[in-house]
C-alpha cells in the first residue's frame, strides 16, 4: 500500500510565526483524516502545503494527483453553473446530482447562494477523478442536507480506495482519524 500523501518532518512558518514543526503524516487509500484546531492554528496552511500551493520551510511533502475545495470558488461568475464546471472537466453532471444542485445547471454562478456555491466547489472535487481529496472547511455554509450528501459521497470515495484530508474546526460526520493543531 503506497501513501497518497506523505509529510516528512515538515515545518511551516507564516508571517514570522512557526505554525508547526517536525510534522509527519501519512495518508493511504481508504483513509480519512481530519485536521482540527482553533482559528489561526494552520489548518488551511496545512491543506495548501498538501496541495503544493505552499512550500514547506523544512521537510518534504509527497503527493499523488489531488483535488482541492477551499473557500475560493474558482468558477466564472457570469456563466451558467454547468458550463462553468465544464471548464474543469470530469464527471461533473453526476457530481452535481450527488450534491443536489443538478437543477441549478442553467443558473449563473453569481446568483448561487453561499451554500450552493460550496456545493459547486465540492462538485468539482467529486468530478475530478482524483484519489486524494483536500477539503478546507467543507461544512462551511452547508445545511444538514448538504452535509449528509457530502459525508455519503466521502464514505463512497474512501470505500473505493480514495483518501480525504479535511480541515475543519467543527466535528465532521463519520469516523475520522484526527490531527490536532495547537495555536
Amino acid at each position: 500500500m503506497t501513501a497518497l500523501l506523505r509529510f516528512e518532518g515538515v515545518a511551516l512558518r507564516r508571517g514570522g510565526r512557526s505554525l508547526f514543526e517536525g510534522l509527519d503524516l501519512e495518508l493511504g487509500p481508504g483513509e480519512k483524516l481530519q485536521v482540527s484546531g482553533p482559528n489561526g492554528s494552520g489548518k488551511s496552511s496545512l491543506i495548501r502545503l498538501a496541495a503544493g500551493l505552499l512550500r514547506p520551510e523544512r521537510g518534504r511533502v509527497e503527493r499523488s494527483p489531488l483535488a482541492l475545495a477551499d473557500d475560493n470558488l474558482a468558477l466564472d461568475r457570469e456563466l451558467p453553473l454547468r458550463i462553468a464546471l465544464q471548464f474543469w472537466g470530469g464527471a461533473f453532471d453526476e457530481a452535481m446530482v450527488q450534491l443536489g444542485i443538478g437543477d441549478l445547471a442553467d443558473v449563473p454562478v453569481r446568483l448561487l447562494s453561499s451554500g450552493q456555491a460550496k456545493r459547486a466547489a465540492l462538485a468539482r472535487v467529486f468530478a475530478s477523478g482524483s484519489l486524494l481529496w483536500l477539503l478546507d472547511e467543507p461544512l462551511n455554509a452547508l445545511d444538514s442536507d448538504g452535509a449528509d450528501r457530502l459525508s455519503r459521497r466521502i464514505a463512497g470515495h474512501v470505500k473505493a480506495g480514495g483518501a480525504v484530508l479535511a480541515a475543519s474546526h467543527q466535528p465532521l460526520p463519520g469516523e475520522w482519524r484526527g490531527l490536532e493543531l495547537s495555536a
Binding site: L66, N72, W88
Partner: protein, 205 residues
C-alpha cells in the same frame, strides 16, 4: 488545458471590459486636435507619435483585470492543481490578451488616423509598427499584472512599471525601425511568461 484557458480568457475579454482600452485609445486620439489645434499639417506630423502614446496608455488600462481576479478567486490555484505550470498559465493569458487587444487596436487606429489627418502611407507604417509592437505590449501587460497582483494600488504601480519598460518599443516603433522593434517585442514575449509565472508562484499565500 492551455487551449481551454485561452478560449475562456478571450470569451471573458470580449464579453467584458476589452472594449474600454480601445475606447480610451480613440478618446486620446480625439483629444489631440483639441490640444494641438486643427492645423492638419502639424497634426499629421505628430500623428504617429501621438497614436503610440495613446496605445501605451490604453495598454495600461486592462492590467488590473488580467491576473488579479483569477488569483483572488482561486482560479490560478485550481489551474496549478490541474497540472498547468505557472509559465503555461502566463503564456495562455498573454495569448488571450493579445488576441483581443491587437486586432481591436489595429482597427481603432484607422478612425484615429483620420482624426489626426494622417495620409495613407503613414497610416500603413504606423499600423505595421503597432502590429509588431502588440505582442510585446500584451506580454508586458500580463507580466506587470502578475507582478502587481494582490498589491494595494496595483493600478498606479503598474503604470510606473509598464511605461518605462515599454520605452524601447516606443522608440523603435515610432521611428519605424521595424527590425529592432521586432527584436524588442520578441524579447518581451519570450521573457514575460517566465516573469509572470514566477510572480504567480510568489504571490501564493
Amino acid at each position: 488545458m492551455i487551449k481551454a484557458l485561452i478560449g475562456r480568457d478571450v470569451r471573458r475579454g470580449l464579453t467584458g471590459a476589452a472594449w474600454l482600452p480601445i475606447a480610451f485609445f480613440l478618446l486620446v486620439a480625439a483629444l489631440m486636435p483639441f490640444a494641438i489645434g486643427p492645423d492638419a499639417k502639424l497634426l499629421s506630423r505628430i500623428a504617429s507619435g501621438a497614436l503610440w502614446i495613446a496605445a501605451l496608455t490604453a495598454a495600461l488600462l486592462p492590467v488590473e483585470r488580467l491576473v488579479e481576479p483569477d488569483r483572488i478567486d482561486g482560479v490560478l490555484d485550481q489551474l496549478f492543481l490541474h497540472g498547468m505550470a505557472e509559465e503555461s498559465i502566463a503564456f495562455a493569458k498573454i495569448a488571450a490578451h493579445w488576441l483581443i487587444f491587437a486586432p481591436l487596436l489595429l482597427i481603432a487606429t484607422i478612425p484615429a488616423s483620420a482624426l489626426l489627418a494622417m495620409d495613407g502611407s503613414s497610416l500603413a507604417r504606423t499600423e505595421a509598427a503597432l502590429a509588431i509592437g502588440t505582442p510585446g505590449l500584451a506580454s508586458l501587460a500580463v507580466a506587470i499584472a502578475a507582478v502587481t497582483a494582490g498589491l494595494p494600488r496595483a493600478g498606479s504601480l503598474a503604470g510606473l512599471l509598464l511605461l518605462p519598460l515599454a520605452v524601447p518599443l516606443l522608440i523603435f516603433g515610432a521611428a519605424n525601425a521595424f527590425l529592432l522593434e521586432a527584436a524588442i517585442s520578441l524579447l518581451l514575449t519570450a521573457g514575460a511568461p517566465f516573469v509572470a509565472g514566477a510572480a504567480i508562484r510568489a504571490a501564493r499565500t
